[in-house]
């Protein structure tokens, strides 16, 4: 069985490296991007099963990325988990409204994050035209 592919988008390369290690250990294939523009490019090229997205990014911040993904038919079904240092009080609802499947504030609990990744990939796989198929 092929491993699910996860796209990690964060402008901090050290954090990207740590996330890659952890996700690989949890049996995921990992692709990465460090800015908004290459995040969209990678989503189109690599067709990940899930995207972990930071909000503060160069070349198109996380909200721009979310909007682009939602507007591209082929990409709109990919679940996006926002992982950001920003204040949830002013960003969580906005991210969820923009189509994110979940919002985590950094630093996030690893177990909770892995659980949400598993659940999100699972429900997206059974319902290919996510986020909320009719």
């Amino acid at each position: 069985m092929t491993k699910p592919k996860i796209l990690v988008v964060d402008d901090d390369p050290d954090l990207v490296r740590a996330m890659r290690l952890r996700l690989r250990a949890n049996n995921y294939e990992v692709v990465t991007a460090t800015d908004g523009y290459s995040a969209i490019a990678s989503a189109q090229k690599d067709r990940p099963s899930l995207i972990i997205l930071d909000l503060g990014l160069p070349a198109g911040d996380g909200f721009v990325v979310l909007e682009r993904l939602q507007n591209a038919d082929a990409l709109a079904g990919i679940p996006v988990i926002v992982l950001s240092a920003r204040d949830p009080q002013s960003n969580e609802e906005r991210a969820l409204k923009a189509g994110a499947a979940a919002f985590f504030q950094k630093p996030a609990d690893n177990d909770e994050l892995m659980n949400v990744i598993r659940v999100s990939i699972g429900s997206a796989a059974t319902q290919p035209r996510a986020p909320w198929p009719s």
Partner: protein
């Protein structure tokens, strides 16, 4: 250069009812060297009306007017227009009254009989200058506060980025994902992780206190059973207490009503108080959590956290809820944090319209008590369950459970359940049914209760309507599972002959008990519950590992 002739006229609002005095003041003003424009009114109410239309440079105020006398006159004027300089012109040389006026913000107090034009002109000029300086100072202070709050919220965001990196790598090592770790190395890493968690808590407190200070702290009140929250707090802190060999007990009044409060925030307060209590209690001591109702104050529930620690000295008691307060006598060597915990607690309780205080004697332990408003079901039920001064014939309690299809729910679950609650509210008869606020149940499941004045047989019409309407929500079935259950409300003592108020209270008590009992039976949920809580508890004090 401004020559006296081009100088803009000083506009004076003269509030004076005695025509002779008014003429005298007008004369003194005109005699002066600078141009003056005088608008004279003879009642305070006319003065206040004029101030809403036009702001003068200064107000000259007589104290005894047809519609106001003495200190009341300047109090009302300053309350109405705090930014306009006021000079009192009084008939009596009363030093005590003059001091009172100045303390309330009046710029000067002059006695009419010794009024010279030079004297008056100077008094007006200084009053205007002083008021302007005061205003500038206020604006600067406000700007500084805004800057400080922005700075703190920026700092707490920026600190999170490197902290996240440390957290990720330490947990990678600890989880053995970067190769095997010896037991000693594991211990060292756990120490690092503990400090990371402490730092994380401090950053969160900093942001929280900043929010509280700038009025941006928010609460989402629900109907909650405090007993459940108390047990939750104790379960979370049991390991800490056990480690310190401190006993941890709960005492809950069985008659406890539902309270209207934000469960996550109240849990935060409880954890903070209990954690402190454990910290300041020596081994073999004990910490007790209690929730009671007090007959003299039926609108509140009292929650108390008592310990058998060394107590708090009297001077510290008044300061303990202030920002950044740290006990200077603290001998606790693992003191951590900024001293913001109790300040945040106080702000959370204040947002709930509750009170928090401490009572303590040195050496005798301390008790922190806070109050929360009771959800007064009886008051809300009274108009819907009675008709023409009689209790309606029969009632049912309808429970609506919305369970998200995944746990944690995907997407904006809050938006979904709020939309559903709105629909339920539209499916009832406003004059004889009542939808309760959302319940503070744990987990991602949302539960709503409806008290309906109908019998079991006819309630089917309502529940069918609710079901049909909810299923019209776009993608409803893809988002959640719906369960609706209806139980008749069986009143134990027949209400005949009793006062209507007592009968309504009887129904309210009965419904409260039914709700509490019903909430003990958890509806079907998926996966692991703690992750489900994350959706609502992203702000709360869960430890990161």
């Amino acid at each position: 250069m401004n020559s006296p002739t081009t100088q803009p006229a000083t506009s004076v609002l003269l509030i004076e009812d005695n025509p002779g005095d008014a003429d005298l003041v007008r004369l003194r003003l005109v005699e002066g060297q600078s141009p003056v424009k005088v608008n004279c009114v003879n009642r305070l109410s006319d003065g206040l009306a004029s101030l809403t239309v036009e702001t003068p440079s200064v107000v000259l105020l007589d104290l005894n007017l047809p519609d106001s006398h003495g200190a009341e006159t300047f109090r009302r004027l300053i309350e109405h227009s705090p930014n306009v300089p006021v000079v009192v012109l009084s008939g009596q040389d009363d030093e005590a009254l003059a001091m009172k006026a100045v303390h309330l913000g009046v710029q000067d107090y002059l006695v009419k009989s010794n009024l010279s034009s030079k004297h008056l002109e100077r008094a007006i000029r200084y009053a205007v200058e002083r008021q302007a300086l005061l205003r500038a100072l206020e604006i600067t202070q406000k700007k500084q506060l805004e800057f400080k709050n922005q700075f703190l919220s920026h700092v707490s965001h920026e600190l999170r980025t490197p902290l996240t990196c440390i957290h990720q790598y330490v947990t990678l090592l600890l989880d053995g994902l970067a190769g095997p770790v010896t037991p000693d190395q594991g211990d060292h890493l756990k120490t690092v992780l503990k400090s990371v968690n402490q730092l994380h808590a401090m950053i969160r407190d900093l942001l929280e206190a900043t929010r509280a200070e700038s009025g941006k702290m928010r609460i989402e009140p629900r109907c909650i059973s405090l007993s459940e929250l108390l047990h939750q707090a104790v379960a979370m802190l049991r390991p800490t207490a056990d480690e310190k060999k401190v006993g941890l007990e709960i005492g809950v009044d069985q008659r406890l009503p539902l309270v209207l409060a934000d469960p996550d925030r109240v849990l935060e307060v409880l954890i903070n108080l209990v954690d402190n209590a454990i910290k300041f209690t020596p081994a073999d001591g004990s910490v007790m959590l209690q929730a009671n109702i007090v007959d003299a104050d039926p609108g509140s529930v009292y929650v108390a956290v008592s310990d058998t620690g060394r107590g708090i000295n009297p001077e510290a008691k008044s300061l303990i809820f202030e920002r950044l307060y740290q006990d200077p006598d603290s001998i606790d060597n693992n003191r951590s944090g900024f001293g913001l915990g109790l300040f945040i607690c106080r702000e959370i309780i204040r947002l709930h319209d509750g009170r928090i205080w401490v009572s303590s004697e040195p050496g005798q332990g301390s008790t922190f008590t806070f109050t929360l408003p009771v959800y007064s079901l009886a008051k809300l039920l009274a108009p819907v369950i009675s008709y023409q001064d009689r209790l309606r014939a029969s009632f049912v309690l309808v429970r609506v459970d919305l369970t998200p299809v995944t746990n944690p729910p995907r997407g904006n679950w809050k938006e979904t359940w709020q939309q559903c609650l709105e629909i339920v509210r539209r499916c009832i008869y406003l004059d004889k049914d009542l939808v309760l606020p959302p319940m503070g149940t744990s987990g991602a499941v949302e539960t709503f209760f409806v008290v309906a004045s109908t019998d079991l047989e006819r309630s089917g019409i309502m529940t069918t309507r609710i079901r049909e309407q909810l299923e019209c929500v776009p993608d409803f079935k893809a988002k959640c599972m719906l369960a609706i259950t209806t139980v008749p409300v069986q009143l134990l003592a027949a209400g005949e002959g009793k006062l209507l108020e007592k009968q309504v209270q009887g129904v309210a008590d009965c419904v409260t008990q039914m709700i509490l009992k019903s909430l003990e039976r958890k509806p079907v949920s998926f996966g692991n519950d703690s992750a489900g809580k994350k959706q609502r508890k992203s702000q709360s004090r869960t430890k990161i590992n």
